[in-house]
């Protein structure tokens, strides 16, 4: 059973899952890193991204480019929704205890979950793979779909893009400053409110992007919001909440443990991930690459 090609197949599927997860979890981590708000509704944004992608492909019909239009449209829609929510509601809770911010985003989970049920029903929906990436490679006797390879390449590109944005641009410098000391930055004349909205939109964009991209390989169901948020939590707990590369590392570890955990505990490989998370929590409570949170 442990042939090289089997191991490679597991590695490949684990890596694909990891990159999907990274794209979503990085948004959660970035929002927390700057706003210090843990967004429970991040999984709901992911779900909305998936439903929006399905909706747009329905509108556009079977055109071969419809998927490539649906993905950015879905992500942008979710980003706008995130911006509206931040501006109209979440903003008023920054001064309050973190409890209220947590509960607010939790309320969004309940509301958005039902909203999706009202708009799209409860049946499973699916989006076909884009024709451009419908084929597959044959590597060492295993089949690697083109789409998986696309995701495996896209994940690191997103990470690199976020990193460049944060470390090499003026806006990125402001974002890092806001994460460090909001009041000081605001005293220096920067528009911190706008920065927070932008950051929340960027994080929501990543959630929506992840949701839209996942549609060709996973069916869209009403429960996908909570499934993904739990996975994202595990990833950021392992990697370190608020750390971009920590999230990347956490996602890769999550994906591989899930893929190879099947060898140890068939059917319950999620438990292997929990064991790993428990281990990380004991050894490094702030995550592998995380800074301890001051509270």
């Amino acid at each position: 059973m442990l042939t090289p090609s089997f191991l490679l197949a597991q590695f490949q599927s684990g890596l694909t899952a990891a990159m999907f997860l990274f794209i979503v979890a990085s948004g959660l981590s970035l929002i927390f890193g700057v706003l210090r708000v843990l967004n429970f509704a991040h999984g709901s944004f992911y779900m909305l991204g998936a439903y929006m992608a399905w909706q747009v492909t329905q509108w556009l019909g079977a055109a071969s480019v419809s998927f490539w239009i649906a993905v950015p449209v879905a992500a942008a829609t979710v980003a706008i929704l995130g911006g509206v929510i931040e501006r109209l509601l979440l903003r008023h809770l920054y001064g309050r205890e973190e409890l209220y911010q947590l509960l607010f985003t939790y309320a969004l989970v309940l509301i958005l979950g039902d909203a999706a049920r009202i708009l799209w029903g409860t049946q499973q929906l699916a989006v076909p793979r884009p024709p451009l990436l419908a084929g597959s490679f044959d590597v060492m006797g295993i089949v690697v779909p083109h789409y998986n390879l696309f995701i495996i390449v896209l994940g690191p590109l997103v990470a690199l893009g976020c990193w460049l944005l944060l470390s090499r641009t003026g806006t990125g410098r402001m974002i890092r400053a806001a994460a460090w000391d909001r009041e000081m930055l605001s005293a220096l004349g920067a528009d911190v409110g706008r920065l927070y909205t932008l950051m929340f939109m960027a994080g929501s964009f990543l959630a929506g992007l992840g949701g839209a991209l996942v549609t060709p390989v996973r069916s869209i169901t009403p429960g996908m919001d909570v499934d993904i948020i739990v996975e994202c939590f595990i990833v950021v707990v392992i990697g370190g909440l608020g750390s971009l590369w920590g999230t990347f590392l956490g996602a890769i570890i999550f994906g591989q443990v899930l893929a190879f955990g099947i060898l140890i505990l068939p059917g319950f490989s999620l438990f292997a991930v929990f064991v790993l998370m428990a281990f990380v929590l004991v050894v490094r409570p702030a995550g592998l690459l995380g800074r301890p949170v001051k509270r």
Partner: protein, 323 residues
């Protein structure tokens, strides 16, 4: 005002609740049982939320563990009611101890994330472990505890089984509330409050914050398990839904709706939410949407919940009188 304060409200409510079976309607007894059990469940969460300042998004896990433990013991192994109830409570507390060890590490944000993650694992076990938990179908036809001995007590002889079970639940929930009240008023409870107010300062005066948070988590889990065990028997069956995250959301909203700043607030919230659920679910199936909207209104308009708003109103009246 001082006179009102001296009235033993808790005892009055208890006595009033005990007359429900004689109102005659099976439905009222059903509702009252539901409220009594969920009030205890919400009060157990409040030990964490209101007293220790920890937000658990997975409290239903311990409710579910208690319910499943008790139901499996009674149905599959024929264990009598009292030992099964105790086993459910202890098992919920034990699981809270194991999960809590990880949840109370580092910050409160991690606590919230991890409670949700562990609750999902409990739910997944209930959902998948077919041979023991009945999987997706749950366990049906859990036997009622044998309550024939109650016929000996005068006036209780001609009551239906549901009414008898309600009285048992009422007494047990009453005792559990008394125990919880003792706990929050004890030095232990005071330390929890100190941790909520300022964990750093509590640490400075020599309190092992994490150990107390863990202890609070275990006690809350055990009481949730106790409530769950009672609920499983009341429901005549246990289902994976008991441990589902939406159940955790419901109990959290009960606590906030009633007001987590006071001991009785969550119980009031449980009562209101159960009655509201009865009314609303006959019009719409979108109960979570309603729950979420209630929560948002509460957060922005009534952060103190029903009891908090009442207390504020009383204070205002008093000020006007004194002025």
């Amino acid at each position: 005002m001082a006179l009102l304060r001296r009235v033993p409200w808790a005892v009055l409510v208890f006595v009033a609740a005990a007359t429900v079976p004689w109102l005659g309607s099976r439905f009222y007894t059903f509702l009252a049982t539901d409220i009594a059990i969920l009030a205890l469940f919400a009060a157990s969460l409040n030990l964490l939320l209101g007293y220790t300042g920890l937000v658990s998004f997975g409290h239903a896990a311990y409710f579910g563990i208690g319910a499943y433990t008790c139901a499996i013991l009674m149905k599959t192994h024929g264990v009598p009611f009292v030992p099964a109830l105790l086993a459910g409570t202890v098992n919920a507390g034990a699981c809270a101890l194991v999960f809590g060890l990880f949840c109370v590490r580092s910050s409160r944000i991690y606590f919230s994330m991890l409670t949700l993650a562990f609750a999902q694992i409990v739910w997944a076990v209930c959902f998948k472990w077919n041979s023991v938990t009945g999987g997706e179908q749950g366990l049906n036809n859990v036997p009622y505890p044998g309550l024939d001995w109650m016929a000996v007590i005068p006036m209780l002889g001609d009551l239906r089984a549901g009414d008898r079970y309600y009285l048992v639940v009422l007494v047990l929930v009453g005792l559990a509330f008394a125990a919880l009240k003792r706990i929050v008023d004890s030095p232990f409870g005071r330390i929890l409050t100190a941790i909520r107010e300022n964990a750093e300062r509590a640490e400075f005066v020599g309190v092992d914050v994490r150990r107390y948070q863990l202890a609070s988590f275990v006690v809350a889990g055990a009481f949730a398990g106790f409530a769950g065990a009672l609920f499983g028997l009341f429901n005549r069956g246990v289902f994976p839904d008991f441990a589902h995250w939406s159940k955790s959301a419901e109990v959290l909203i009960m606590a906030i709706l009633g007001g987590f700043g006071s001991f009785w607030g969550p119980a009031v919230g449980a009562g209101v939410l159960v009655l509201l659920n009865q009314q609303i679910t006959s019009y719409t199936q979108y109960w979570p949407l309603i729950l979420g909207s209630i929560l948002i209104v509460l957060l922005f308009v009534f952060p103190g919940g029903i009891v908090g708003a009442l207390q504020a109103a009383v204070r205002r009246l008093k000020e006007r009188r004194d002025a």
